[in-house]
């Protein structure tokens, strides 16, 4: 059972890695914003599988925090990439 759970965690990690490479290589910034989302689900799945595989229940808490902060990071991503017109007008108006 342990090695099956490890294998499943490794498989999900490989999928997440592939997804991350694809996302981070695309030129559009909106694609980059999906990275936190991807780790929010795949990272949680990996951690839950590891918690079961190593029989260490506190790892579930790490998964909980990862879910929470992935959402927080995603908000920060969207916030820091606003529409361009308002940014330009702001940059020229203050000073």
């Amino acid at each position: 059972m342990t090695s099956f759970l490890f294998g499943a965690a490794g498989f999900v990690l490989a999928m997440a890695a592939l997804g991350l490479v694809v996302i981070l290589r695309r030129p559009a910034e909106v694609d980059h914003m999906m990275a936190a989302q991807l780790l929010g689900t795949a990272g949680v799945a990996i951690l839950l599988l590891l918690a079961a595989a190593t029989e260490t229940p506190p790892i579930v808490d790490v998964a909980l925090l990862l879910a929470l902060f992935a959402a927080f990071a995603a908000v920060a991503f969207v916030r820091s990439a606003p529409d361009r017109e308002s940014e330009v007008s702001k940059a020229t108006s203050d000073g």
Binding site: I59, L65, A70
Partner: protein, 313 residues
């Protein structure tokens, strides 16, 4: 080769790849996003090193808070291109060789472990029972190295003072220039109403469970800070001006209680920061709760940045 070491190797390769892309990325925005991903991945690495307490801290601070801080800076620096020219190719090569030498030196130190590996783990475990705690890391933080932990809170406050002192004189005591959404966004408002209650429960749980299992004031405080920032970013709560008395009280209450209990140790126990026997756990839990609040407010204000405008009357 067992399946768990295959997992470890895959994780290390991914971490190194993402780490390299934070350095190599052309755009600062892409680099910071890669850094957030890197922080979240590093939490998994800490789990593999059996350091769940560190994993919690890394997921919260390395992934969430540092990322949010840097993304705010990226948004501001986006149109302020400095006219720096990148280093020339020979300089890059020389730097690369030098860095490779340093990394190789560190790697050698890791590959050749000392004959007798120094450890304080048995000493910690022998004395942990006296403190009434079940989590050895919390034991180290609040019993054996309590002075470090206390001073670290002071460092947080000093850093905050440093950030605040960067404000121009005219806006001292004003409102931090945290970027908030100008027009209310209904989706974000919903998230900012949904997530904080969950986060506060998790923060209290972290703080409470920290005595027995991985968790504690740092992790709880970081969650509180993140939830507070989320509420402020969504515009549900205005950013407080830094001269608010309640804000300053919350900032110092944790270190003050810690210090007071530490000084009481002179009278009630034998030394500074010594806990009277039998009350150690209760006192530590009290300190942790106060610290959670103070850390939360300090981290939130650090992320919000120096004051930039004065309060409108």
């Amino acid at each position: 080769m067992t399946i768990s070491s295959v997992f470890n190797i895959g994780l290390v390769v991914l971490i190194l790849g993402i780490g390299a892309s934070t350095i190599a990325a052309r755009e600062a925005f892409a680099a910071v996003i890669a850094f957030v991903v890197y922080g979240l991945l590093l939490a998994i690495a800490w789990v593999r090193l059996s350091a769940v307490d560190v994993a919690l801290t890394e997921a919260a601070i390395g992934g969430g808070m540092t990322g949010m801080l840097m993304l705010g800076a990226v948004a501001r620096l986006r149109f302020a291109k400095g006219n720096d020219s990148p280093a020339s190719l020979p300089a890059r090569l020389a730097a690369g060789v030098l860095c490779a030498v340093i990394a190789a030196g560190l790697a050698t130190a890791i590959l050749v472990p000392p004959e007798v590996i120094p450890t304080l783990a048995p000493a910690v475990m022998d004395n942990l029972a006296q403190s009434g705690l079940g989590n050895p890391v919390a034991g180290v933080l609040f019993v054996y190295r309590a002075l470090d932990t206390l001073l670290e809170k002071v460092v947080l406050l000093l850093a905050l003072l440093g950030v605040w002192s960067l404000a121009p004189d005219s806006v001292w005591g004003g409102i931090p220039g945290l970027r908030v959404y100008a027009q209310p966004d209904r989706t974000l408002t919903f998230l900012a109403q949904l997530l904080p209650p969950v986060g506060i429960v998790v923060a209290i749980y972290m703080c409470w469970v920290g005595a027995k299992e991985p968790g504690g004031a740092f992790q709880g405080g970081t969650i509180l800070a993140a939830m507070w920032l989320l509420v402020m970013i969504a515009g549900l709560q205005s950013v407080p001006s830094i001269s608010q008395p309640w804000l300053r009280l919350l900032l110092v209450i944790g270190p003050m209680i810690f210090l007071a209990i530490g000084l009481a140790g002179f009278v009630l126990a034998s030394a500074f920061l010594a806990y009277p026997s039998g009350y150690a756990k209760a006192l530590i839990v009290a300190i942790e709760f106060a610290l959670t609040l103070s850390i939360g407010v300090a981290l939130g204000m650090l992320a919000a940045g120096p004051p930039e405008r004065v309060q409108q009357p």
